[in-house]
Each structure stands twice: as structure tokens, then as C-alpha cells.
């Protein structure tokens, strides 16, 4: 049984312009011990899918349909008797069995609390540890994420740490209770490359040493290539393709996946040939397209793509793609 099961998720946001359909029918499994990358551009719904799962949607957002299972438990908001019971249950899970690493460590850490206070908080809230035990564990965590002079640093405030060190603290807080699931939302986007390398190295080590599942939300294909076992490509609120790292990079099936891979430059390649950009821009999710979300930008779009949403084609146990091009029936349609 998978650790996380998301089935047919729809997430919407009420705005002044109307209802934004940010996530449209996402189904996804995450297994214990694996690293899954969710890749997409801004507005593709990659973050909102995960925020829906852990109950951290903004006030104007809500889950409009679908179910979640986490570690065998049903955590679909509508399965709880009332809002309060749901919020309470999620609060118990977050910081304990599931944890989150955010993009900007400075907005995650409380600037007026010592690092130590913030590190022991999840321990005191979710376990029976005494303050002294929690402090010991906090020091252990700081050493685990590679912070030198932990005894001295634990008494300091976030502003006394550099960007990379702060992100290490955020990771330490996430790991405090040996979570089964860690969701990392663009954890290295705010960091410089050499610091990004340090943090990615750290996450890679943690992946090997703990049995936590990691979900990595990112727009950077380089980051997922390094860290992830499986990759889901999101576009216009849908998962358009999912597969192992090798299937996605070496045998992409969806034109958007191919486009993404072609439009970034691999520094190992010396040819100064023009990059192939994907023309146009992503769809407006206030009024999402009826058929395939990528139809407006797709070079290979057919008549059927505009009017009917493509169904999932399975290439292997791990590799699926939603595209009419890979669907046998589309050929008769043309």
C-alpha cells in the first residue's frame, strides 16, 4: 500500500475575477522511502496539490473534490464531521508524521524566537519528551544537518544564520519527529548554486539514511535529475506525464515534457544551436480549456485535443501519459 494516495483531486480558489481551478483531477501515489519530483511552471498547480494534501490552502482555497489517504488513514477534508475536527487532525499530523520544507526559510522561521526554541517545538508538541531530552534531540538534529558548534548556535536567532544555514535549520525542524513524509517546496530556489549543492547533498543523504518519502516540488529539472526516483510533470492543473527519472528524461511521451527538456540548456553540450522554446504561455485557469490544457502551445495538436480531455495511456508499470497522440483511438478520429 502506498504511503500517500491522492485520488481525483480538484482544488479551487475564490477570487474577485471568479473561481480559479488550480488543480483539476490529480491522482498520485507516493511510496515509503521514495523521492518523487513534481515539476511544473508557476501556476501549474504543483504546490497547491501538496498544500491541499496537508491542509495548508490559503483562506480562499478549498478542496472541491477527491480523496486523500495518508499512511492508511483517510484525511479527506469532507470525511471529517466538521472543519474543526479536520484542522485538529491535520495539526497532529503536521510536524509529526508529515513535515514540510518551504522555499524561503526566513518566512518559515520566527525571527524573534531562538533557533533552539523553534527546534524543540515539534518535539514538545508531538512527543512526551522532557525539555532536557528535547534539547538533546535538537542538538543531535543540528549536527545531522551539518551545523557546526551546535551548542553555541542553538542559542542564536535566525538573523544570525546565513541563507544556507537557515535552510538547514528548516530541514532539521522538518526531521525532528522522523516523519514518514517530507514535502519540500522549492527548497533551494532562494539559494546560491554552491549553497544549493550543499543542501541538495544533505537531502540526498537524508533520503538514503532515513526511510522517509520525499516529495520535491520544483521547476528545476536539474534538481529532480539529481534527487528523484520518479517524476510527475504538471501543466495547467493536471499531471500530464509521470514516470521514473529515466523514463521522463530519456523517453518522454508528452509534447510538453519534450518541450521542457528541449528548452533548457545542458551545460555539458557545447553546441550553440538555438534552444527550442515552447511558444505561447500557460492557460488561464479561471477558464480552463475544455480539452487538453497544452493544446494552445502544442505543435502536434489535433482536432480532438481541443474538445476532449485526453485519457491516460500506460507505457509501463511506472510510466503514464495523458495525451491524444499516444491514444490509439485518436487516429480514427482525424
Amino acid at each position: 500500500m502506498a504511503l500517500v494516495e491522492i485520488r481525483d483531486l480538484y482544488t479551487e480558489f475564490k477570487t474577485d475575477q471568479g473561481i480559479v481551478k488550480a488543480v483539476r483531477g490529480v491522482s498520485l501515489d507516493v511510496n515509503q522511502g521514495e523521492a518523487l519530483g513534481i515539476v511544473g511552471e508557476s501556476g501549474s498547480g504543483k504546490s497547491q496539490t501538496m498544500y491541499s494534501l496537508i491542509g495548508l490552502l490559503a483562506d480562499n482555497g478549498y478542496v472541491a473534490g477527491g480523496t486523500f489517504k495518508f499512511d492508511g488513514e483517510d484525511i479527506t477534508p469532507s470525511s471529517f464531521p466538521n472543519e474543526r475536527a479536520y484542522v485538529e487532525a491535520m495539526r497532529k499530523l503536521r510536524g509529526d508524521k508529515m513535515a514540510m520544507i518551504f522555499q524561503d526559510p526566513m518566512t518559515f522561521l520566527n525571527p524573534v524566537l531562538k533557533i533552539g526554541t523553534q527546534l524543540v517545538e515539534p518535539l514538545l508538541n508531538h512527543t512526551d519528551m522532557t525539555k532536557a531530552q528535547a534539547r538533546e534531540r535538537a542538538l543531535e538534529l543540528m549536527r545531522l544537518v551539518g551545523i557546526p558548534e551546535a551548542e553555541k548556535r542553538i542559542e542564536q536567532y535566525p538573523f544570525e544564520f546565513s541563507g544556507g544555514m537557515r535552510q538547514r535549520i528548516v530541514i532539521a525542524i522538518a526531521l525532528a519527529n522522523n516523519p514518514k513524509l517530507v514535502i519540500a517546496d522549492e527548497p533551494t530556489t532562494a539559494l546560491d548554486v554552491t549553497i544549493q549543492a550543499q543542501v541538495l547533498e544533505l537531502i540526498d543523504e537524508l533520503k538514503k539514511n532515513t526511510n522517509s518519502a520525499i516529495i520535491m516540488i520544483t521547476h528545476d529539472l536539474g534538481v529532480v535529475a539529481k534527487l528523484c526516483d520518479r517524476i510527475a510533470i504538471m501543466y495547467g492543473g493536471e499531471i500530464v506525464e509521470i514516470g521514473t527519472d529515466k523514463e521522463i528524461f530519456y523517453e518522454p511521451k508528452h509534447p510538453y515534457t519534450m518541450g521542457l527538456i528541449n528548452c533548457i540548456s545542458n551545460p555539458e553540450d557545447d553546441s550553440k544551436e538555438d534552444l527550442k522554446p515552447i511558444p505561447g504561455s500557460p492557460p488561464d485557469l479561471l477558464d480552463p480549456p475544455k480539452g487538453c490544457p497544452f493544446v494552445e502551445r502544442c505543435e502536434k495538436a489535433m482536432r480532438v485535443c481541443k474538445d476532449f480531455p485526453p485519457e491516460v495511456t500506460t507505457f509501463s508499470k511506472t510510466h503514464q501519459c495523458s495525451c491524444w497522440l499516444t491514444d490509439e483511438r485518436a487516429k480514427y478520429n482525424e
Binding site: 511552471e41 508557476s42 546565513s162 544556507g164 544555514m165 546560491d192 548554486v193 554552491t194 549553497i195 544549493q196 549543492a197 550543499q198 541538495l200 547533498e201 521547476h219 528545476d220 529539472l221 536539474g222 534538481v223 535529475a225 539529481k226 527519472d245 529515466k246 528524461f249 518541450g259 521542457l260 527538456i261 528548452c263 533548457i264 540548456s265 545542458n266 551545460p267 555539458e268 557545447d270 550553440k272 538555438d274 534552444l275 527550442k276 522554446p277 515552447i278 511558444p279 504561455s281
Partner: protein, 325 residues
């Protein structure tokens, strides 16, 4: 690309006084310290480095948004580091800039047409508004927007489209040189390639030189003919982009390059990174010797006391004691 040097920067220094309080000891940030390089006509010179290394300050000093504290900037044979008045205005026409944030660099209360026409008015390029309008429409077409976009406001455009408006504005005065300060880092991957290809096409057609500042090394390598690697206010290595990438000489360049995430699972997972210890020292109190000595895996006694001078190694200029004979 020709061999004619259009921009020559010699020993350029930009310092900021950050002294706090009246009687406090003087504190100077040496954001750019002793930087020398040149850019040829029609060439793209890439400037890479991590945040705080001084690459943006260097770009802004060159377009004269900051006063240099020392050194010279020679543009088309004239020293522009001290110019004022009419000369400065003429210089500004030839030297344009594209900014990082397409949301902050366009006035939200001006239409796209007004934004693009404003530099033409300032520099008196056309006599009538019809001519300016015609040119603005032409520029919109060049950057891949539609002529009827001219009446719209920036808020109606996406990030990539706004960056195109910024490019059209910089082209409005027919510049010879454009400083591109992280022009693509605020954009999504599929849009980045659109903008980079546009910049390349414009360069081919109009023979404009670029100073391309970015922290994204793979994009810089792709667009640039030559690259300068900056660390703590210094250019530590400079040379043709393929050479620098494949055979880095300076230990910092090697570390920086090995940190680039490679978008290929086999290459990325097989690769061994040179993971640097620690972080960049404060530019208020930089190391006495080589700026990189505190993090360098190959540092010797000498590196901590004596600053390495730039030396030529083949096609490259590198500031490192390891390469002195």
C-alpha cells in the same frame, strides 16, 4: 563579432560607505574591487557569480548608475567614468540596460506605447509622434508582440511578455551596448528560452554587444562568447565560455561549475560535486590575501597573505597563485 573593443574596463572599483553612526569606525564595502575586462563589438560577455559577489554593482557602475571609486571605463575610445551633462546623455543612448524584475521596471501607469516612446522623446530621435509610434510598432514586432498591444498597460501582460517590453524599450534608442542584469531569472523555464533566443536574434541583426549578468551558469554558458567569474568583488577567472566550463583553472570556478544541477539523471547521479565548505566572507572585511582563500581546498600559506595578480594562461586570465611560475 569583430575584434574591435567597444568597452574596456580597467581596475574598476566601486565602494560603498556603510559606516553606522557618527563616531563609529569607518566601514567600506568593496563591492567591486580592481576589475579589468573588455567587451568586443557584437560579443556577449557573461558575468557569473553568487549573490553578493558584485556582478550587479559592476553592471550598474558601467551604465553609470553608480560612481566608480577608482579605475576607468572606456566606451568606444572615450573614458566615461567621469563624464557629465551632454556627454553623459549621449553615452546613455548608446548604453542601455534590461532589468531583472519585469514587474518593477515598467511604470504601471504608462501604456506600452508610452514606455517604448519615452526614451525616443528624451533623446530626440524622431521629430513627430507618428514616426515614434511607427517605430514603437516595429519594435513590438521585433520582440514578438502584437502592434495592438501598444495601447495596453503592463499589468495585462505575463512576466515573459513584460520582459519583451523591457527589451523593446532598450532597443528604442538604437543602442550599441546592453547590460542585461539577470534578464531571465524571474521567468519560467519554457519562457526563459524564448527570451534568450530573442536576445540572440537581436544581437545577430543589430550587432549589439551584451554584458549578460546571471547566476544561472548553464544559461550564461549557452549565450556567452566569453565568461568572467566573480567572487567577492574580483573577477577570478576570465576566458572563452567553453574553455572555462570544460577546463576551469581557478578552484572557485571548478567548485561553482560542479555545483550546477545537470538536467540528466545519469550524469547528475554519477557526478561528484566539489562541495565547498562554509560561505562567502563579508565584503566589509575580506581576507587579506586571495578572496577565496577561506574556502579554497588548495589554499596554501601564501594565499592567506598575498593577493594573487591576474596572469594569462593560454586563452584565459586567472588570479590564482597555483598558476604562477
Amino acid at each position: 563579432m569583430s575584434e574591435n573593443v567597444i568597452l574596456q574596463v580597467n581596475n574598476l572599483k566601486t565602494y560603498f560607505d556603510v559606516t553606522k553612526g557618527l563616531f563609529a569606525p569607518k566601514q567600506i564595502v568593496k563591492a567591486v574591487d580592481d576589475v579589468t575586462f573588455d567587451v568586443k563589438e557584437g560579443e556577449t560577455f557573461g558575468l557569473v557569480g553568487e549573490s553578493g559577489c558584485g556582478k550587479t554593482t559592476l553592471g550598474r557602475t558601467i551604465v553609470k548608475l553608480y560612481e566608480p571609486a577608482g579605475g576607468s571605463i572606456t566606451f568606444e575610445g572615450k573614458d566615461v567614468s567621469k563624464i557629465k551633462g551632454a556627454d553623459l546623455k549621449a553615452f546613455r543612448k548608446d548604453m542601455q540596460m534590461i532589468f531583472q524584475d519585469p514587474y518593477a521596471s515598467l511604470n504601471p501607469r504608462m501604456t506600452v506605447g508610452e514606455i517604448i516612446k519615452e526614451p525616443m522623446i528624451i533623446h530626440n530621435i524622431y521629430d513627430t509622434d507618428e514616426q515614434r509610434e511607427e517605430r514603437a510598432v516595429e519594435l513590438l514586432k521585433i520582440v514578438g508582440l502584437k502592434p495592438d498591444h501598444i495601447r495596453r498597460y503592463p499589468a495585462e501582460f505575463s512576466g515573459g511578455q513584460r520582459q519583451r517590453i523591457g527589451i523593446a524599450r532598450s532597443l528604442a534608442v538604437n543602442p550599441k551596448f546592453i547590460v542585461c542584469d539577470e534578464p531571465i531569472s524571474a521567468l519560467d523555464a519554457s519562457i526563459q528560452a524564448q527570451v534568450v533566443n530573442l536576445l540572440k536574434t537581436i544581437q545577430k541583426e543589430m550587432n549589439i554587444s551584451y554584458l549578460f549578468i546571471a547566476h544561472d551558469l548553464s544559461m550564461v554558458k549557452y549565450i556567452s562568447d566569453r565568461i568572467g567569474v566573480m567572487y567577492l568583488g574580483h573577477i577570478v577567472e576570465l576566458g572563452p565560455s567553453n574553455d572555462v566550463y570544460h577546463r576551469p583553472l581557478h578552484p572557485y570556478t571548478s567548485a561553482l561549475l560542479s555545483a550546477i544541477p545537470i538536467p540528466d539523471p545519469d550524469q547528475a547521479k554519477a557526478r561528484n560535486r566539489i562541495v565547498l565548505e562554509g560561505e562567502v566572507p563579508s565584503p566589509i572585511n575580506p581576507p587579506a590575501g586571495c578572496p577565496f582563500c577561506t574556502r579554497c581546498p588548495k589554499a596554501t600559506e601564501r594565499c592567506h597573505t598575498e593577493r594573487p595578480q591576474p596572469i594569462e594562461v593560454g586563452t584565459r586570465t586567472v588570479s590564482c597563485h597555483l598558476y604562477e611560475k
